[in-house]
């Protein structure tokens, strides 16, 4: 046996240069993890500032323009720099080749290019922030975004560049899953996380170019007065909304589908059971990827579109709930009579299932035109999409971070501390966003820096919840950073998981496997329940 330390991908070249020029999918995944965590911090600090401003009516710490810029950059950072790349680019890059028995992704150089495009796009966006920042909201609605005097242009260009990074990552995953599966690993043996990333990649590849074009059109509108979205020049701002949501609604599934993949893996691993109805989880993944493209109009119920249009988009949106319900029942079926291990990834998984169910059911209500008109552009919408995008996606991100931390770095973290932080974060989320549902139902509009005094108690409750969250994140950052160096050595498979990624060493060697593993059984195959207990 050769010494394992010299063989891990982490010790294969220790200079900064060896990281910056690497073609190793694992190092690229780790780089994306670091970058997205940084932007999660930036976006989170913006969010805290917003919550502090809303602590009291009137001016608390910033003026109205500063508030508008801050919520815009909070949205832009969180959506494009954190949630969209976080799971696919960081964990997908690290795990997909390991899970399918490949030595790397299909196009390693393209993979590295997507890191640099991400950094370039993020830098342009950040530069825009320092140049004054946009105040349009992350949706860049025209005609406001074409006429406001703030620095919208660098933000548009930055997001356009990040879009290319997303497309290249998605393209790479599609080619990898199609062509690099180990011999014997048929489609119906592919782990559920890989299926989820594959479904996500299809959305990334099909939706992102349309976003790129529409952002470019807004940019041109600002520079040369192109007139496409400007009613004063004969254009139509509603066309912007159609094109924008054609991307941005599927983008919700770019964030949620990989999360569902993480959850499928974690549920199976921590209940020591075969994934219940594997095939249905796969088909519902593809179903969500497909139906997601026919739901954009539910963002436009209040835009004056036809009643028929609203009805059709409402019905299509509700179909997503059916596919989601299939997944939730499958996870519950997996947990049922499982041998459940309460570890931090499972706690986040349960949080995820709660947030997805709660936020998703409210989503069905929003897809109903009459209810939507009551809640349109209120805090309740804010609470709804935070439940899905932050509640569910961040839960899954944290579950992934804890579940695969030993795989990525070969170290364990203090389990009790992690469990405590998980509980704190789940309660923090509930305390932050449930008051916002109530605020919205009472009529508090979104995007406002000021409000009448009778809304204050609910805002205070929400800010209190946000501070709990902040404490939780600080705790996680602290113990994970500590564990990187001082955590107990994990061994190859600390969770005793049957996931395919655990068949290589932890942390894996540079080309993943010394001998390509064989796949006689399906994924997530645990010992049958009929096997009598040792006791």
């Amino acid at each position: 046996m050769s010494p394992p330390a010299a063989e891990s991908y982490l010790s294969d070249g220790r200079t900064l240069w060896s990281w910056l020029t690497t073609h190793d999918h694992k190092r690229i995944g780790v780089m994306f993890l670091g970058l997205t965590l940084f932007f999660f911090l930036v976006g989170g600090l913006f969010a805290l500032a917003l919550r502090i401003e809303l602590l009291t009516p009137g001016r608390t710490i910033m003026g109205h323009l500063a508030y508008n810029r801050m919520f815009t950059l909070h949205g832009v950072t969180m959506v494009w720099l954190f949630m969209i790349p976080a799971i696919p680019s960081a964990f997908g890059n690290f795990l997909v080749p390991l899970m399918i028995g490949a030595r790397d992704v299909a196009f390693p150089r393209l993979n590295l290019a997507s890191v640099y495009l991400y950094v370039l796009g993020a830098s342009v966006t950040l530069w825009g922030m320092f140049e004054g920042g946009a105040d349009t909201g992350w949706t860049f609605y025209t005609p406001y975004s074409t006429t406001t005097g703030t620095a919208v242009l660098p933000v548009l260009v930055g997001v356009f560049i990040i879009g290319f990074s997303t497309i290249l990552t998605g393209l790479n995953f599609i080619a990898t899953v199609h062509t690099l599966r180990a011999p014997g690993l048929t489609w119906m043996k592919v782990p559920l996380f890989v299926w989820a990333i594959y479904g996500t990649a299809i959305i990334q590849v099909l939706a992102t170019p349309v976003l790129g074009m529409v952002l470019l059109l807004v940019a041109l509108e600002r520079v040369v007065g192109a007139g496409i979205f400007d009613p004063a020049r004969g254009g139509d701002p509603i066309l912007f909304q159609h094109l924008f949501w054609f991307y941005s609604h599927p983008a919700v599934y770019i964030m949620v589908l990989p999360s569902m993949g993480v959850i499928s893996e974690a549920v199976s691993a921590f209940s020591r059971k075969n994934a219940f109805s594997y095939r249905m989880i796969v088909y519902s993944t593809l179903g969500i990827a497909f139906v997601g493209f026919f739901t954009w109009g539910h963002h436009m119920f209040a835009s004056g579109q036809s009643t028929f249009g609203s009805g059709a988009f409402g019905a299509m949106s509700m179909l997503v709930a059916i596919f989601t319900a299939i997944k939730i029942f499958s996870w519950l079926g997996t947990l049922y009579r499982g041998s459940i291990a309460i570890e931090s990834p499972l706690i986040y998984t349960l949080g995820f299932m709660f947030f997805l169910f709660f936020g998703g059911m409210i989503g069905v209500a929003y897809a109903t035109t009459s209810l939507n008109l009551h809640w349109h552009d209120t805090y309740s919408v804010v609470a709804h999409f935070h439940f899905i995008m932050v509640g569910a996606t961040v839960m899954a991100f944290l579950a992934a971070l804890h579940y695969w931390f030993p795989k990525m770095f070969g170290r364990c973290f203090p389990a009790k501390l992690a469990n405590g932080a998980a509980v704190l974060i789940i309660f923090g989320f509930i305390a932050t966003f449930v008051p916002q549902f109530l605020l919205g139902n009472l009529g508090m509009p979104r995007r406002y820096a000021d409000y009448p005094p009778h809304f204050q108690s609910l805002h205070v409750a929400s800010t209190a919840g946000a501070s709990l969250l902040a404490f939780g994140f600080v705790a996680i950052a602290f113990y994970l950073a500590w564990s990187l160096r001082h955590g107990a050595v994990a061994g190859d498979n600390p969770w005793g998981s049957e996931g395919f990624e655990w068949r290589s060493a932890s942390p894996p060697p540079t080309h993943n496997f010394h001998v390509t593993p064989e796949y006689p059984t399906g994924p997530h195959e645990y010992a049958r329940e009929e096997v009598p207990h040792a006791a």
Partner: protein, 209 residues
């Protein structure tokens, strides 16, 4: 043969080629969708301003547009022949054909430049800069905006394609490709056919009523 560093994690050139093809097809799909946004905008505004669009369309120089179509289709044929030549172990001929196709691409851009010069002289400019007296502004200025976006974005793709074909042509002439390793030529050819096909949609909607 391809260098060892390229086949590294693949095992065989066949597997690598299959992935490269798939990647190229997916990339082509994204390119089509990039243009789809512009085609959608064109469809919407044509239905809102049918008369203005027809009037503006009549002022287009159909002769030059048709000449350009002819140039692009011819260059596509040359590229197809080049792929055939490289696969048939005649990389020198393949290189010459690729360079000829690139040259036709350059002529295409030159013709496009002549057209642009005419439009600029007449004032057929996008958005705010529109001062073309022959067709009233409402609607027609949108036609010209979309005209510049569609043809400009396409010209950008032609420029990229010309560079790709030139590099491939020079390398092919130097004997870098052959029957056992033609993938870069095939993929470059696919890209050029894409540029051609997009033009086959841009040309009728802008030039032919």
């Amino acid at each position: 043969m391809p260098p060892e560093a390229v086949t590294g994690h693949w095992g065989s050139e066949d597997a690598r080629k299959q992935a490269a093809y798939l990647g190229m097809w997916v990339f082509i799909a994204t390119e089509v969708l990039l243009f789809a946004g512009l085609f959608t905008a064109y469809g919407v505004y044509r239905s809102v301003y049918p008369e203005a669009f027809r009037a503006a369309q009549l002022t287009m120089e159909v002769g030059l547009g048709t000449l350009n179509t002819f140039l692009l289709v011819s260059s596509s044929i040359l590229v197809a022949l080049a792929v055939h030549a490289v696969r048939g172990a005649r990389p020198g001929l393949g290189g010459a054909l690729l360079l000829a196709a690139a040259l036709l691409g350059v002529v295409f851009l030159a013709v496009k430049g002549v057209e642009y010069a005419h439009h600029v002289k007449e004032g057929g400019l996008p958005g705010d800069a529109y001062r073309f007296t022959e067709v009233p502004r409402v609607g027609a200025s949108l036609f010209f905006t979309l005209y510049y976006l569609l043809t400009g974005f396409h010209a950008l793709h032609v420029t990229v394609g010309v560079s790709v074909l030139t590099v491939l042509g020079v390398r092919s002439a130097a004997g870098a490709f052959g029957p056992e390793y033609a993938t870069p030529v095939e993929l470059g050819g696919m890209y050029w056919h894409l540029v051609d096909v997009i033009w086959l949609f841009v040309y009728p909607i802008l030039y032919l009523s």
